[in-house]
Amino acid sequence: MEMLSKIFVEPFADMVAAPDFLMQVIWEGLVSGVLYALIALGFVLIFRSSRIFNFAQGIMVVFAALTLVGLHAMGIPAWVSVALTLVVMFIIAVAIERIVLRPLVGQPDIILFMATIGITLFLVGTGETIFGGENKVMITSELGIPTGDVVLEPFGGFLLLQHLDITVVISAALLVCALLVFLGKTQMGRAIRALGDDHQAALSVGISLQTIWVLVWFVSGIIALVTGIAWGARAGVSFALEIIAFKALPVLMLGGLESITGAIIGGLAIGVLEKMFEIYWGQPLLGGNTEVWFAYVLALGVLLFRPQGLFGEKIIERV
């Protein structure tokens, strides 16, 4: 009885008793959810256009952030470093398409997945050799990202919003809008979507597979840079950042591998729910640190009822 009350009654009583704390928890969850969603977006873009499950997205985030910090450390002005980092990400996109993807076109999915793990290892090794493995500080103030915080007082309580987090949420929203406009309104974007719908049909109307792949990986690189700046400003730049790639995977399961809407909603939902579970159930009952698996178990539960995720394309199988 006591156990049941601890699981089903007390957490909710806590939530009602301290609504300002609940809002704080939700806000924190929302901010990390935005970042999960961003990484998941990178995955979805590549998966839609090439059916490649890009495991390297997480390391691309780290690599972009490292390159940016490393370039700045050489004395290059902040915004110029951003531009140079984008150039680097473009070179990586071209190299991946040329060296890895082109010879592997048409191979089974698992081989391509494995190849992206190979890319991950290569980028980890390269990053560590060039920039060293130690933790670095993101150049937050040089990029003009505001620091400091806003204190709100809902229900007579206390709610603290970091300027940094607000900036992250706003810029992520802008990025997503830009991406949606790009995919929906421009010729390139339509080509990407066409390729996602049907490879052969897209090829037959003259869409270049190679160009689109480079483009898609480059766009993922841009997303990776934004995510890297945001996450690096919160937690420092190191290879530990790679772990957020694992956070994006359940987001994909929950939202569906093909769906941009799914990635965004799934990311936000997982961000908020895992934070709430950790604070109200995980720490008092399970000894904490439940964030490492909660998202997976949640996604697994959802998947049992909807095998293609909440927004994924319906899986039709024929013999």
Binding site: F53, Q107, D109, F246
Partner: protein, 358 residues
């Protein structure tokens, strides 16, 4: 030449379907077994045992387990590391609860625990397919590692949170713990690995193997011809996790000597997956070729700079190794996506028909 099959006549269907339709294959295997059982252990140094022979055996066994699931039954799994952990912790608990238990029995029994856990996490495979399932197995990976950390009973409440292998002996010979010699450990592992490998070869060539392959190739079609998918998939999860669990128990008891939860993290899962894929999915031989490559590669890469005379900091060597291994994985995938086993099959084919090209 070496593979001339002239004069080897098959007079019955059974002979044609035999394990070694070509006699030279049997000879080759005999030579390899001779090396594995006699020549290598008698000549190897401590370093060779610990960095090459023992890890190759253990990784090959783990990859065999994964290969049954991924290569034969077609269910991609990324949770191998955690299932190895289940085997190791189960073995640890058994050995500490029953100190008189023979280690052979403990190791073989510990697989049953990971088989049970594997079946539990395999249940979603009936609804979820492909990459969705792969991510679902990651749930097992992260959840189990977390459990190893938080459930103090598993490591007997010791302060370090790690498990330490006690001194154990089998029939009077020390095989685990600080007192054991590498050679005893090697033979212990070799016995278990040989036993399981023979069983697996038979299993995959028999009825169950055909059921798995049908499930892999297209599960709906398999269901239509009367294969019970529930049984087939769960059986694959059970057998695979059993073998992986046994490999995990030996990984800790006969090689590492101690284990922390993060020893079984996702990197271990990926290493085993590399071995299975680079070796060749759906091939028993491939696991061995892959294990040899993945285990030997870092050793070779570590010695090369010293031999050439380059002075590089060891940390840098470590980083460059990661880079080279990544590049080599991509290289091997491009050269032969079906793995080293396929490469060997091609070479053998060429040898059989030599000197003719076709």
């Amino acid at each position: 030449m070496l593979y001339r099959i002239a004069g080897q006549f098959k007079t019955s269907y059974q002979k044609d379907q035999a394990l070694f339709p070509v006699q030279q294959d049997a000879w080759l295997l005999g030579i390899i077994l001779l090396f594995a059982w006699l020549i290598l252990p008698l000549t190897a140094s401590e370093f060779v045992f610990q960095t090459l022979l023992i890890p190759v055996l253990i990784y090959a066994l783990a990859a065999t387990g994964l290969n049954i699931l991924t290569g034969y039954a077609g269910q991609l799994s990324l949770g191998t590391g955690a299932f190895m952990g289940v085997g190791a912790y189960a073995c640890y608990k058994m050995v500490t609860i029953f100190p008189d238990l023979n280690l052979f029995i403990a190791v073989l029994l510990s697989g049953t625990f990971s088989a049970m856990v594997g079946v539990a996490f395999g249940l979603p495979s009936l609804r979820i397919k492909g990459f969705y399932l792969a991510i679902a197995t990651l749930a097992a990976q992260f959840f189990l590692i977390w459990l190893f950390e938080k459930w103090a009973w598993l490591y007997n409440y010791n302060a370090s949170g790690a498990i330490q292998v006690p001194n154990l002996d089998v029939f009077g010979i020390a095989v685990a713990g600080p007192l054991a010699t590498s050679m005893a450990q090697y033979y212990f592992i070799l016995i278990v690995v040989t036993l399981i490998t023979v069983l697996v070869i038979n299993l995959t060539r028999g009825n169950q193997g055909r059921i798995w392959k049908a499930t892999r190739d297209m599960d709906i079609a398999a269901e239509l011809i009367g294969i019970n998918l529930l049984k087939s998939k769960l059986m694959a999860f059970a057998v695979s996790s059993y073998i992986v669990g046994v490999a995990g128990a030996m990984f800790v008891f006969l090689w590492r000597g101690a284990a922390e939860p993060n020893l079984f993290d996702i990197e271990l899962s990926f290493r085993v997956l590399f071995i299975a894929i680079i070796g060749g999915l759906g091939s028993i031989l491939g696991n061995w070729l892959g294990a040899i490559l993945i285990v030997a590669l870092p050793v070779i890469l570590n010695t090369v700079p010293g031999v050439v005379g380059l002075e590089i900091k060891s940390a840098t060597v470590e980083h460059i190794n990661v880079m080279i291994i990544g590049a080599l994985i991509i290289f091997f995938l491009i050269v032969e996506p079906h793995g080293l086993a396929r490469l060997w099959a091609l070479i053998r084919e060429k040898l059989l028909i030599w000197p003719f090209p076709h």
